[in-house]
């Protein structure tokens, strides 16, 4: 008997089940309904509380200026290119941003959002959703996904907060406004 068969058969013996037995449905999925308004404000507040920087702009051209300001003369790589050991800043987009936690959600992430000491993400306002629950409404989910909530951090030495351990210690999110707020049927692409 292989280890696989032994583990499965001891589990079945313990649970009083036989191979191929069906199962009752699991408890229902529990997803919260979040707010649809004031998402930029919420996102900004949440990420700034974690020492992230947030800039809101109106056009892609303004976004370029904001990127330049954040770069402040440092070397950078833009996705889809991979960073080198010397890259100071990685510039990426994100697939979603979470208003309640100030998080970025990146599908199929690369090392560009992880290796350089600074990460700049450029997103559209319409990509901000209320919480991770909205991302879990997507089907199917991507093959890989990372949720980034603030700069890399540790409190392993005397419980004192240090930012920038293995990942970026500095995060900038530049949001380009693209939602018409006078329209009450604000459409998100979820």
């Amino acid at each position: 008997m292989t280890s696989r068969d032994q583990i499965l058969s001891s589990a079945r013996a313990a649970l009083n089940r036989r191979a191929g037995d069906s199962i009752p449905p699991p408890p229902p999925v529990l997803l919260r309904e979040g707010p649809k308004e004031l998402l930029i404000e919420q996102f900004k507040k949440a990420l700034e509380a974690l020492a992230g920087k947030v800039v809101v702009v109106k056009t892609p051209a303004e976004a370029e200026v904001a990127i330049d300001n954040a770069l402040n003369g440092r070397t950078f790589i833009r996705s889809p290119h991979e960073p080198t050991a010397a890259t100071e800043v990685g510039i990426t987009s994100a697939d979603y941003a979470l208003a309640d936690t100030g998080s970025l959600v990146i599908f199929e992430p690369t090392l560009l959002s992880l290796l350089p000491p600074c990460h700049i993400a450029v997103i559209k306002e319409s990509q901000i959703v209320a919480s991770l629950d909205d991302v879990f409404r997507l089907r199917p989910l991507p093959g890989s996904m990372v949720v980034i909530t603030g700069p890399s951090r540790t409190a392993d030495i005397e419980m004192r907060l240090v930012r920038g351990v293995h990942g970026p210690g500095e995060i900038h999110v530049i949001i380009i406004e693209d939602v018409t707020h006078s329209d009450s049927n604000t459409s998100h692409h979820l």
């Binding site: 013996a13 649970l15 997803l31 090392l111 949720v147 540790t154 392993d156 030495i157 990942g167």
Partner: protein, 452 residues
């Protein structure tokens, strides 16, 4: 693991302060973010998380097979390991076949449980811990002191000394400078490593995914930078659907550190390189058979029960016999290793109930502690204790005899415990307990006098 020495821990003022303040801070932060104002649906989420875990563990064979199918469909491999020896042997063989000399590891209690590092090192493979706290302890040759704050007993000075000795760095006095030294040293290891080993916070059956939750970025690096990724996980970490993460992720980081979400939550269903999931039994299916204690396996390793335990907060992490410390360690150790391994462990609790109250998946730790005590007593009864209670029960049922014995005991009772019980087994018992001096008159005597 160091030989437990409770007296030394209790007598070390610096250590007491470190344990007390670290656990207090973690407990306070948790309390704040799960409060009714901050999270009105917290109790509903706890119950739901409990229900999902119950459903999954009750049908574990089904979900394990589903997980295996989905991992293999995306090109990964599932390795089943009955015990630590099988898990370590597989990883060692794989590393040797692929010519791997250096392995980067991110924090995993499961690999601590099976002593993976020791096995790899014995085989000539360098396994480097990359979580800052774990790295410090690996250099100093120690084990994690706490599930989520492994090096909470180390001061800045201790860390500076350890880095000076092993990394030949200059003395430093700030956590920032020390963190930078570790970052630079470990960055080299990440680039050099042929394999990354991680644990898994969750295994998602319907997606064939593993989920890693962390703050530093080392689990992301360990799982994606090297060509080969091996995840080692207990079979109980499984949940049915990706959507269930919505419940568990709301609870995990809040319970552990008081963060709404940890910095990096990685959902890995398809990874470009080679991927192996080592599914470890190591006593878990044995525990599964015990229906009333099966919920011990619901644990998501947040550490909240440690931070809120009056015993852990005094004796720290090194006075428990196994890698899992605190209240959860007290119920896991005797069930994984057998009750005979540490029969008295479940008795080392005041049963105050704090652990059960803060558990995000509602494991009834106090009830399970009581059941384990009962199992111990029925499997190897202590005759002296048994007869003492029988005699006591008989006396209690005979009030006249009780009254006579009580007044006789009062007359004979010592006023100074040191001189009276200076010898015999009572001396040891009293060395850590107070013997209150009895009053001059018993309650019965006072009552009689009053009624007259």
């Amino acid at each position: 693991m160091k030989t437990p020495d409770v007296t030394a821990t209790l007598g070390d003022g610096k250590l007491q302060l470190a344990i007390y303040s670290a656990t207090a801070r973690l407990a306070d932060r948790r309390r704040e973010v799960v409060s009714l104002e901050a999270m009105p649906d917290y109790q509903q989420l706890r119950q739901h998380a409990h229900d999902i875990k119950k459903h999954t563990l009750d049908h574990l064979d089904y979900y394990l097979e589903q997980l295996e199918r989905n991992i293999e469909a995306r090109g990964g491999k599932v390795i089943w390991a009955k015990d630590g020896a099988e898990a370590c042997a597989f990883i060692q063989k794989l590393a040797r076949e692929r010519g791997v000399k250096v392995i980067v590891k991110s924090k995993s209690m499961t690999t601590e449980e099976i002593h993976l590092n020791e096995h790899l090192e014995a085989g000539g493979i360098e396994a480097v811990e990359t979580d800052l706290g774990e790295y410090i302890l690996q250099l100093s040759g120690e084990k994690p002191f706490h599930i989520i704050a492994p090096a909470l007993h180390k001061t800045i000075g201790d860390v500076s000394n350890i880095f000076e000795r092993h990394l030949h760095s200059q003395p430093e006095t700030s956590p920032e400078a020390l963190t930078k030294i570790a970052r630079i040293a470990l960055r080299e290891k990440f680039l050099e490593a042929g394999m990354g080993i991680t644990g898994a916070n969750f295994l998602v059956a319907d997606s064939g995914a593993i989920v890693l939750v962390e703050n530093e970025g080392n689990a992301r690096l360990s799982s994606t930078a090297p060509k080969i990724h091996v995840a080692v996980s207990g079979i109980e970490k499984i949940i049915p659907r990706a959507q269930d993460l919505a419940v568990f992720l709301k609870l995990l980081a809040r319970s552990a550190t008081g963060q709404p979400l940890s910095v990096y939550t990685s959902f890995l269903a398809a990874v470009p390189g080679e991927f192996y999931l080592v599914l470890l039994d190591n006593g878990r299916t044995r525990l599964l058979a015990d229906e009333s204690k099966r919920q011990s396996l619901y644990c998501i390793r947040c550490g909240a029960c440690l931070n809120n335990c009056p015993v852990y907060r005094k004796i720290g992490g090194y006075n428990y016999p196994w890698v899992y410390s605190g209240p959860i360690g007290k119920i896991l150790t005797p069930q994984f290793m057998g009750i005979e391994h540490d029969p008295w462990l479940p008795f080392a609790s005041s049963l105050c109930g704090a652990c059960g109250e803060v558990c995000p998946v509602k494991i009834e730790i106090p009830r399970i502690l009581l059941e384990l005590r009962s199992n111990k007593v029925s499997s190897s009864p202590d005759n002296v204790e048994l007869w003492s209670f029988k005699v006591w029960a008989w006396v209690m049922k005979h009030p006249k005899i009780y009254a006579k014995l009580a007044s006789a005991a009062l007359a004979a009772a010592p006023t100074d415990k040191d001189s009276f019980f200076a010898v015999g087994p009572l001396k040891n018992w009293l060395s850590q307990r107070d013997l209150p001096v009895p009053p001059a008159k018993s309650f019965r005597e006072l009552w009689k006098k009053r009624s007259k």
